[in-house]
């Protein structure tokens, strides 16, 4: 619990919630403090989370008890090569305000991961240097991993430019 306690001590109210489940540490952070917390996690010698293992999102729109929002959680999985410890960091955002600051300046791998989250979930990353879709094509309408995107929806074929 020392990692969670240390983050709470340092960032106070910016830490919305912490919990430990089956040995996994999770910290929920206020959006305004996200980059400061991420930078501290990366640069602090005792934490030394030098690897951004994964960056993804979860859509809670149909999750029992959480239908009223906030709809999305953007999830960062951090890993320290030196200490071999892990941290899961989450930011909650509403559907009509679905954006978080970009972490590309901290980890270059965030570039494609953030493009994927934008593509699949429709969460924007403010300050991203290249905010295009990653997997779907430009003309695709919607964000397929949102829980309310129907699995059997067909999109029109893209013909040659006329």
């Amino acid at each position: 619990m020392t990692i969670l306690a240390e983050l709470q001590r340092r960032f106070g109210d910016a830490i919305v919630e912490t919990h430990e489940h089956r040995g996994d540490l999770t910290v929920v952070v206020a959006r305004d403090a996200l980059l400061a917390v991420l930078a501290h996690c990366r640069d602090d010698a005792a934490l030394a989370f030098d690897v951004l293992m994964d960056l993804t999102a979860v859509d809670y729109v149909k999750f029992p008890g959480r239908e009223d929002g906030p709809r999305f959680e953007v999830v960062y999985h951090l890993f320290s090569i030196a200490h071999t410890h892990l941290l899961r960091l989450k930011v909650r955002v509403d559907e009509d305000d679905a954006h978080v600051p970009s972490a590309v300046a901290l980890w270059p791998i965030a570039n494609w991961l953030e493009r994927e989250v934008w593509d699949m979930f429709g969460v924007r990353f403010e300050g991203h240097p290249d905010p295009r879709r990653l997997l779907m094509y430009e003309e695709f309408v919607g964000h397929p991993l949102r829980k309310d995107y129907p699995i059997n929806r067909r999109q029109p074929l893209i013909g040659p430019a006329s």
Binding site: L52, T84, M136, Y137, P144, L145
Partner: protein, 254 residues
């Protein structure tokens, strides 16, 4: 561009307007789905050096996550086969162990050993495939055939255990589909011996090959900072001087 002669364009010699050398833009792909992973790369070349590239990777996006949302926990197993067809066992077990962790389920000692042994065999299959295919792309087709021969020794083990070669669906939440077959240990020892012999042959063919080494050493080299910044692991991470092996640093099961 209108003022550029073909010779100037192809050699990057000048624009014809006195602006000096220029880079050449070349599109690579898109490759056909039946070929190696479908991809398109728009490159900008200065001579033989790629100075910029835009990579398009989405052509075969299969929306596995969306499909996995539709069924029960065990319904996702066949999808994990297809995440990497060379080492589907590792993906089976990785997924199953994540679900087991959520449920708080502990699997049997024997099952842990089966998962580790089969994952290690799959890991070697993956390395054989990747090194062999890389050599083939550089023209060393013999190496590819040798490596695939070695992979065949190991895939026969996989076939013995799972009943299939690629889409094996052998992992289960809570265990594996079936026990190891009789005589499996002897077959593993024999297959490993044959694989080691192939590795010796390939080592002489590649590491002792001036053409191969000249084309590989120092080309597209990553720094330590880049490697960690891009979350690259395995042999590439160790190649930049980080002595990290996930099996030593964070051992699983046994």
């Amino acid at each position: 561009m209108a003022a550029t002669t073909r010779r100037e364009f192809m050699l990057g010699e000048g624009s014809g307007t006195g602006s000096g050398p220029q880079n050449v833009h070349i599109g690579i792909g898109p490759a056909h789905p039946a070929m190696h992973g479908i991809i398109r790369i728009a490159t900008e070349l200065d001579g033989e050096v790629i100075v910029a590239a835009d990579v398009e990777i989405g052509y075969l996006h299969r929306a596995f996550e969306k499909d996995c949302e539709q069924g029960g926990w065990n319904n996702a197993i066949p999808f994990t086969d297809r995440l990497n067809y060379v080492s589907p066992l590792i993906n089976n077990f990785g997924y199953a162990s994540a679900v087991e962790k959520l449920l708080g389920v502990d699997i049997t000692e024997r099952c842990k050993y089966i998962r580790v042994i089969m994952s290690e065999i799959s890991r070697i299959c993956d390395h054989l495939t990747c090194v062999g295919a890389s050599a083939m792309e550089l023209g060393a087709f013999t190496v590819f055939l040798y490596m695939i021969k070695a992979r065949e020794f190991l895939w026969e083990l996989v076939e013995d255990v799972t009943g299939a070669r690629l889409t094996i669906s052998y992992g289960r939440v809570g265990g594996v589909k079936a026990d190891l077959p009789a005589g499996f240990g002897d077959k593993v020892v024999r297959a490993f011996k044959e694989t080691r012999e192939v590795l010796g042959e390939v080592h002489r063919l590649l590491t002792g090959n001036r053409i191969f080494m000249d084309r590989m050493v120092g080309v597209g080299a990553l720094s330590r900072e880049e490697t960690i910044g891009y979350a690259i692991t395995g042999p590439l991470l160790r190649a930049v001087g980080v002595p990290y092996d996930v099996r030593r640093a964070q051992p699983y099961y046994v």
